[in-house]
């Protein structure tokens, strides 16, 4: 019995979402009086023993770079085999692009109950019950897993990263991926931008900004805050901004520490995707905009005047 956490990485670096998954898995292990171990497939520049700071005692590591372009089928097979060998009873993934591809396959392979997009530690009273997002953020469900092995994917920014001073023992794995049926062709990273799902601060614009030529208001504020840029659905549909920036029920669902909405009225479909943000600031000229009811702070007025002053005030604070 142990908790196994999958460490996802990209371009040689462990993903932030995986550091949170490590912290989460370690907390589950503590609750279950067992140990947390992790698996990392491929090469990273991070110091591996130092990943122990996130609560794992052992890291199983294969240096085979072929894992980096392995498809979901091949990765699922390798991780499921390791989990079986270690006798892992709880397997944790970040609910990101890798998790969404691999975790369901492992769950099916091991006939393990799966909870995706978990937002809190499991409750162990009365079985094993995990709270997750449902109805695209409009509600939560407590889902009981009835199988001996449990698979969980963790929603980003829902648990937080917890660190202490500790090191992990490194166990080198002599495993290699089976040939992938899906071939990697190319990777196109948007440079210099914070990925939306990993951002602690998100600044988002809506139709109230009148046109794509005014987006510097949003991006300037986002850069001042080292945050990511997002938009409402009509803005993406009209081609003012790329689709991957659309947050809401049918776009990306996010839960940053701070969400600033500029010129977005706050339709129920938009709120569903952002209402787990810890603090919401709304800037809108319409005092009746529904978004104010879901906000913590607000300014009623003209975004074209308010936002530049807000950016200047942030820059002043940051010196």
């Amino acid at each position: 019995m142990s908790v196994l956490i999958y460490i996802d990485h990209s371009e040689g670096q462990v993903k932030k979402a995986s550091l949170e998954a490590l912290s989460y898995g370690a907390a589950i292990a503590a609750k279950m009086n067992t140990t947390a171990e992790a698996v990392l497939l491929g090469k990273v520049t991070d110091s591996l023993p130092e990943l122990g700071a996130y609560g794992i005692t052992k890291l199983h590591h294969s240096e085979d770079e072929a894992f980096e372009t392995a498809d979901t089928q091949s990765l699922a097979r390798s991780v499921a085999e390791l989990a079986t060998k270690l006798g892992s009873t709880v397997i944790i993934f970040a609910a990101n692009a890798t998790g969404v591809g691999v975790a369901p396959r492992i769950a099916a392979r091991l006939k393990a109950g799966l909870v995706s997009s978990a937002v809190d530690l499991p409750s162990l009273e009365n079985g094993f019950t995990v709270k997750k997002v449902v109805f695209s953020g409009k509600a939560f469900a407590h889902v009981k897993i009835n199988t001996p092995i449990k698979v969980i994917t963790l929603t980003g920014n829902s648990f937080g990263i917890q660190q202490s001073v500790a090191t992990a023992e490194i166990e080198t794995l002599d495993i290699h991926p089976e040939p992938s049926k899906i071939q990697f062709v190319s990777l196109d990273k948007i440079k210099g931008e914070v990925p939306l799902t990993e951002a602690e601060i998100v600044v988002s614009g809506g139709r109230g900004l009148k046109g794509p030529e005014n987006w510097n208001l949003v991006t300037d504020l986002a850069h001042a805050l080292h945050g990511a840029v997002a938009c409402s659905r009509p803005v993406a549909d009209d081609g003012w901004r790329p689709h991957h920036e659309h947050v809401g029920q049918t776009g990306v669902q996010i839960a940053p520490n701070l969400y600033i909405a500029i010129g977005i009225s706050g339709a129920i479909q938009h709120l569903g995707g952002v209402n787990r943000s810890k603090v919401i600031v709304v800037i809108n000229k319409d005092p009746e905009a529904p978004f104010f009811k879901a906000a913590d702070y607000g300014i009623v007025g003209d975004a074209f005047e308010i936002v530049p002053r807000l950016t200047a005030a942030i820059n002043k604070l940051k010196g």
Binding site: I145, N146, K181, Q183
Partner: protein, 247 residues
């Protein structure tokens, strides 16, 4: 080419979500059911586009549900598709839904199985991955572009902070997201034609229930917005820094 598109009935995106029976059951009363937007706008419409480009393509739709899902199957057939298959059981968790679809799909000889990237009700995003594993097929999640040449698919998928292009041979499973296709409305002629298209009702197979939802919960209401006057942006920054401690 033979394509299967899996669709799911979900509450309309504007629906107010409530629960009954001590917050253990979703309250469907007064809630309009629609085709899950990811299934419709991206998976189904892309499949229709592929059929338009290669007219000998056979396009089947599949859903897991009782006869209350027939209206959305008719709508889906009005958008396009030759035949719909309904597996006659109320859907429970992702594993059971995927197992039901797998039981039908493994006999169907499909080259391509398309789904939405997730449903907007349970947000598991797990049916396509479980389905792929049960069928032992390759799987590309969260695809934003799909092009077909012969029996080779080139797929662009969303990853954190970018896109990755991948290629694979038929048969394969792909979950579809925004960018894949543009939303369409069915025209009257197709709505009429869809009335006579077959909906094949299939009885379910036995599946173990691996998970169960024991309780629903609505998010805590916000305690009320604190308004700052326009012109007092420095005060807002102070509140975010000192009170909310988020910057």
């Amino acid at each position: 080419m033979k394509i299967l598109v899996a669709i799911s009935k979900v509450p309309d995106t504007t629906a107010k979500i409530t629960f009954k029976e001590g917050n253990t059951v979703f309250n469907e009363e007064g809630v309009q059911g629609i085709i899950n937007p990811y299934d419709e706008w991206y998976a189904l419409v892309r499949a229709i586009e592929l059929k338009e480009a290669a007219p000998d393509t056979i396009l089947h739709l599949i859903t897991v549900g009782d006869n209350s899902t027939d209206p959305i199957l008719r709508k889906a057939l009005a958008l396009g598709g030759d035949e719909a298959i309904r597996i006659n059981i109320k859907p429970t968790d992702s594993y059971s839904v995927a197992s039901q679809i797998a039981a039908v799909a493994k006999e169907g000889g499909y080259d391509l199985i398309l789904t939405g990237k997730e449903t907007i009700d349970y947000n598991d995003a797990s049916v396509p991955g479980i389905l792929a594993e049960l069928l032992d097929l390759p799987f590309v999640p969260v695809a934003t572009k799909l092009t077909i040449e012969g029996d080779k698919a080139t797929v662009v998928k969303e990853i954190e902070g970018g896109e990755q292009t991948e290629a694979g041979q038929f048969p394969l499973v792909i979950s579809c997201a925004k960018g894949m296709a543009k939303q369409r409305m069915p025209n009257i002629r197709n709505v009429m034609a869809a009335r006579t298209k077959p909906i094949k009702v299939v009885e379910p197979v036995g599946v173990d229930l691996l998970t169960e939802t024991v309780l629903f919960e609505l998010p805590a209401a916000k305690s009320g917005v604190k308004l700052v006057e326009a012109g007092q942006e420095e005060e807002l920054v102070r509140l975010l820094h000192e009170e909310a401690k988020v910057i």
